[in-house]
Structures are given as C-alpha cells and as structure tokens.
Amino acid sequence: MSSIAFQLLINGLIAGAIYALVASGFSLIYSTNKFIHFAHGAVIAFSAYVLYFLFSILGINFGFSVVLAIIFASLLGYLLDIAVYKQLRKKKTSSVILLIASVGLLILLESLILLLFGADVKTIGFIKGSKGMEFLGAIITPLQIFIIITSIILLAGLFLFMKKTKLGKAMRAVSDNKDVAEIVGISSEKIYSWSFIIGSAIAGIAAILIGLEQNLEPTMGTNLMIKGFAAAIIGGIGSVHGAVLGAFLLGIVENFGIWYLPSGYKDAIAFVLLFIFLLFRPQGILRIKRRAEK
C-alpha cells in the first residue's frame, strides 16, 4: 500500500511544481501591480501553442522553438500591459476593473487559440512515450523529474533576483509602497512593464514544460489559471513564496484527496479550497498582508 502513497506524493510534487511555475509568475505580477492578471493563464496557453506551431508544424529546431516561445510569452505579457492595463491605469481605475479586463483578455486570447488552432487536442511530439523510471516503488519519467528540478531552480533564481538585484529590489519597493518608491526615483511604470516581462517569461517556461508533459487544448489556460490562482490565495497572495507554498500544498492535497474520493473530484478540491480561503482566510496561510510585509 505504501508504494501507492509514494506514487501519489510524487504525482503531487509534479502537479505542485507545475502550479508553482504558474503561480509564481502570476504572483510576481500581482505583488507589483496589485491586481489579478487572470489573462496570465492565456499567456501560458498561447505560448504552448506557439511552441507547438514552431516545432510540430513548421519543423523548427526544438531548442530554437523553446527560446522563441519564451520570448513570445514575455512580449505577449508586455503587450497586454501596454495595450490594455496601462490605458486603464491612466484613468486611475480600480483593481476591480482591471480584474474584469483581465478576464476579458483571458476569454479573448482563448477564443483566438480556438479559432487559429481548432478545438482538438494537440501533442508536442518531442518526447516519445516510454516507461518511467522506478524510484522507491513509484514511477516517474525523466521529463517529470526535469519539471520538478527546473521548477526548483527557477524559483530559487526568482528569490535571488528579488533579493539581490537592483531591479528585484525596485520591484519589491513598488510592491511595498508605490508612492515612496517613486519619491526615491523608481519609475513605477517601468517596473510594471518589467514585472509583466519577467512574470510572463516564467509563464513561457511553464508553458513549455506543461506542453510537453500534458497535451494542448484551448481551455488549458483557464484551468491552469484557476489552479495557480488558488495556489496563490492558499499560500498567501502578494508574495512569491506564498504562491509556491500554496502550489505544492495544493498539488499534494489534490492527489491525496482523490485516494479517498472519486478521481473526478480532483478539480473540485481546488475550487472548494479557493472558495473557502477567499471567504474566511483571504490572506492565505502565510497571512500575507496586501500592503506592507513586515
């Protein structure tokens, strides 16, 4: 019996790693911009499809395709900021309007994917199916190991970036208190743009890994976004470590949950947790306050 428990743990870690990649980019954008960028999921979906298009349709070398897809993700995020969010910011609209706008963007981009690529499931045929490796009674494939490792490296890199680099510190400054940051000479508009560029680049990496591990279908963006968002809320939105904690927790709870419940309840677990946390503990487990972090 313990081997299934270990397999569920592994599955939970894999899912957690994927959610962490989604949630961390999203959280970076949220903590800097202070609104929910729902369209983040669509950036991920679109980038995965771009990878599919470049590699599986046009036949471009895989390495190149990956790089191009990540650049595309960054650009798309940046574009969404400039074209839509910035225009709304100019009018000093509330974060609610930005949220509604982001939902509109999510639907827009997903429908675009549906239109351009069709409703059928697509596969990025880079890795051929084969038996996974056995590890303490559980099976894990090389790709899955790669996902977990990449996720950890990326997140570590993100922490270092936020702590050590000038840009990272500037982002934290804007996140803590935009007005004070501006007094010190930091251009908040520039920081907003950077948060979208970097956050969306992480989304691009997430897209590559998810696209290889799972198949592509047009609504994948919404599904990932709900999970990533749930992870961020559970862990504590407004901080990247909160998002990561929430992501791994969610992944593990989901997979152990369906040991007892029928498998169809897996998504329901995320929805119910999200709903409960929003109602009763919106600061999340780490009690992240929306403004300053003491």
Binding site: I4, N11, S130, G132, E134, T141, E217, K266
Partner: protein, 375 residues
C-alpha cells in the same frame, strides 16, 4: 446631449437589424431546383473529427452514387451537414437548427452517443427520423422515430466478456470516458463480466477532453488487474501511452473508436495485441462490399473502416425509404421497421426499437493492422 446620443444608438441598432435581415434574405436567393434535402449531424471538427470525417466520406459516396442513378425519383438528394464536435450541447443546437429552421424530416447521425441522446427528443417530438451511429443503450428507448446503424453497447460487451472469461481473465479494471458513450459501455461491461463470474476490481473515470490520466491509472495499478477495459474516444491512445509509462503491463480491451488509423500512427507497436469488439470486417467476398471498398479507396485514397460502412448502408436505406414515401415520415418510419437490406455490413434489419441486428466480431491489432482475433 442625451437625446442626441439616444438617437445615434437607436440608429445603430436599426442598422444592425437591417443588416442582418439583408444578409439573411440575400443568402436565400437560391433557386429551388428539384431537391429533396435531409440533414446530417457529425463531429466535423475537434478531437473526434476523424470519425465524423470518415462517416461524411461514406455518406457523400453514397449520395453521389444515388444521385447519378436518378436520385430520389428524379429529385436530387441534398444533405445539410451540421458540426456537433461530439458535444451534446452543440448536437442539440444542430438538431434544433435542422428541425426548426431548415425543416428537414430525416437526420443522419450523430456519432457521439451524448449528442444523439441530447438531440433525439427534439427529433422525436417533431416526428423527424433519426438514423444515428452511436452505441449507448439509452438510444434503444429514445423514441419511435429514432433508429441507428450501430448495435447497442450490450452486444459488444457480451461478445468481449464471453471471450475474456473463456481465455481465463478473472479480474478487470475499467477506465472510461465520462460521457454517455463511456458510461453505457462501462455499465454493460460490468453487468456482463460479473454475470459471467468475473470480478471488477477498479472503476475509474476521466472527463471528455482530459489528457492526464495518471491519477486514475495510479489507482488502477495498485489493484493489479489482469485486463483493463478502456471505453474511450481518441484519448484511448493517451491512456494506453500513460499506462506504459506507469509500468502497467496487463492486457488491454478497447472500445470501438479504437479502430482508426490514428491509433496505429500514434501508438506504433504499443497498439499490437489490443483487443476490441467490432461491427465490421473488411475484405468480404460479395461484389457489393468489394465495389464499396474499391470506390472508397479510389475517391479518398485511404481504405474504408471505422464507422463509414455503417452509414454508407444507412444512407442507402434512407434513400430507399424516401423513394417509396417521399417526405412522409410516418411512412418512412414504417418502411424502416420492415427494412431488409443487404449492405456492406451484412444483412441489415431493425428490431422493434429501431436497433440494427448486425454480428459483432472480436478484433485485434497485428503488425500494425486491424484483423479479426483468432486464438
């Protein structure tokens, strides 16, 4: 200021409405030649388009042949296709459009059981004949005007469980697609397998459109079944791939949609040895079958298979009824119930529920080809 705004927007509204009316009327300036039109609902796009496509090929082949031989008493047979993407919501919309707007009196299809079950009540209420190609046992009682060319799931599972028990399989797991099709097959299999003394040790479901089955397969692996039954659509291929990844090595029994070139292409030699119950075997001896297989190959460049032969026969059966009855659906209905048609799928008759009586055969994959299974 307000008043002027109001006027502007009212004008916009009127313009929009007039625009639509114009387009609508314009698009109907077609000559009403002597046509007799029927409808067809198929998955023409989306993940399951491969099945809708092959059925459409067969229907078109039949239609052309019928029209070249004088049509329906001199009138040209025309078919209005609707795409349901194997989704019951879209199937319902398609049926409503065909019945209420296009006002057809016969509808071929659909292929997806969910789509048929959802849309059949609309047809039945309006006394429109439906000739579907779907497996769910619920279609048996769907209505007096509802017929199908594919036998009910219980015939498939009866045959397959008989074989499995004879070959000594006692424990089975099922991972099924959670829609009308999958549920129908799952229930029929459980009932048949258990009544033959077998043991169902794990039942897992996945949603239509899902691509990650690791959770369900992990639980199945834990139970160690001798055989896994996968009633699924194209996703069966991914289930099998992930089974291999997780190291599940037992025998596999698939559902009818497994017989499709894409299964072989995607699985390679992982497809060898997979069993499935089926309603058609190619290469029969009679002239009609040979002519059909030849014509299909010539016209479409690929050998026929899957659900195409069912609806090739189906189109002819409908055409014959139309020749006798015109557009009178209660007459067509009576004709169908008393049909005895020698088609490429064998001798076709319908029982009192509108279900066909066609023999079921167990097939498997050998060296990349779909062949009858010989022990």
């Amino acid at each position: 200021m307000m008043k002027k705004q109001n006027k502007i927007y009212l004008v916009i509204g009127i313009v929009v409405v007039v625009l639509i009316a114009a387009i609508v009327i314009f698009s109907n300036q077609q000559s009403e030649e002597e046509v007799i039109k029927i409808g067809a609902i198929l998955p023409l796009s989306g993940s399951n388009a491969v099945y809708g496509q092959e059925i459409q090929n067969a229907i078109e082949l039949a239609r052309e042949e019928i029209n070249s031989e004088g049509g329906i008493n001199g009138k040209v047979l025309k078919i209005i296709y609707e795409d349901d993407q194997a989704d019951p919501k879209m199937g319902t919309n398609s049926m409503q459009k065909l019945v209420n707007v296009e006002k057809v009196f016969v509808v071929l299809g659909s292929w997806a059981s969910g789509s048929v079950v959802a849309s059949a009540p609309i047809a039945e209420e309006n006394q429109v004949i439906v000739l579907a190609s779907a497996i769910s046992p619920l279609i048996t009682d769907a209505g007096d005007y509802i017929f199908r060319m594919q036998p009910s799931a219980i015939f498939y599972t009866s045959k397959s469980t008989e074989l499995l028990r004879k070959e000594g399989f006692s424990t089975a797991a099922i991972i099924y697609i959670n829609n009308e099709f999958g549920v129908g097959l799952k229930n029929a299999f459980i009932s048949d397998f258990e009544s033959r003394g077998g043991d169902i040790i794990s039942v897992e479901a996945y949603e239509q459109g899902a691509s990650d089955f690791r959770t369900q397969l992990t639980k199945i692996k834990d139970k160690n079944p001798e055989i896994v039954f996968i009633p699924g659509y194209q996703d069966t291929v991914d289930v099998i791939k992930q089974m291999k990844e997780l190291g599940i090595e037992c025998k596999i029994l698939a559902g009818p949609p497994f017989e499709s070139q894409s299964s072989i292409e995607k699985l390679g030699n992982m497809a060898d040895g997979v069993l499935y119950a089926y309603h058609f075997v190619a290469g029969k001896n009679d002239t009609k079958s040979q002519q059909y297989e030849q014509a299909y190959l010539e016209k479409y460049g690929v050998p026929t298979g899957g659900f195409a032969p069912l609806m090739y026969d189906g189109t002819y059966i409908i055409a014959n009824a139309l020749k006798k009855c015109g557009e009178e659906t209660s007459c067509i209905k009576k004709e169908l119930y008393s049909t005895e048609y020698n088609g490429v799928t064998g001798k076709v008759t319908f029982d009192e529920n509108g279900d066909p009586l066609i023999p079921i055969v167990i097939k498997t994959v050998k060296n990349g080809k779909f062949v009858p299974y010989n022990k």
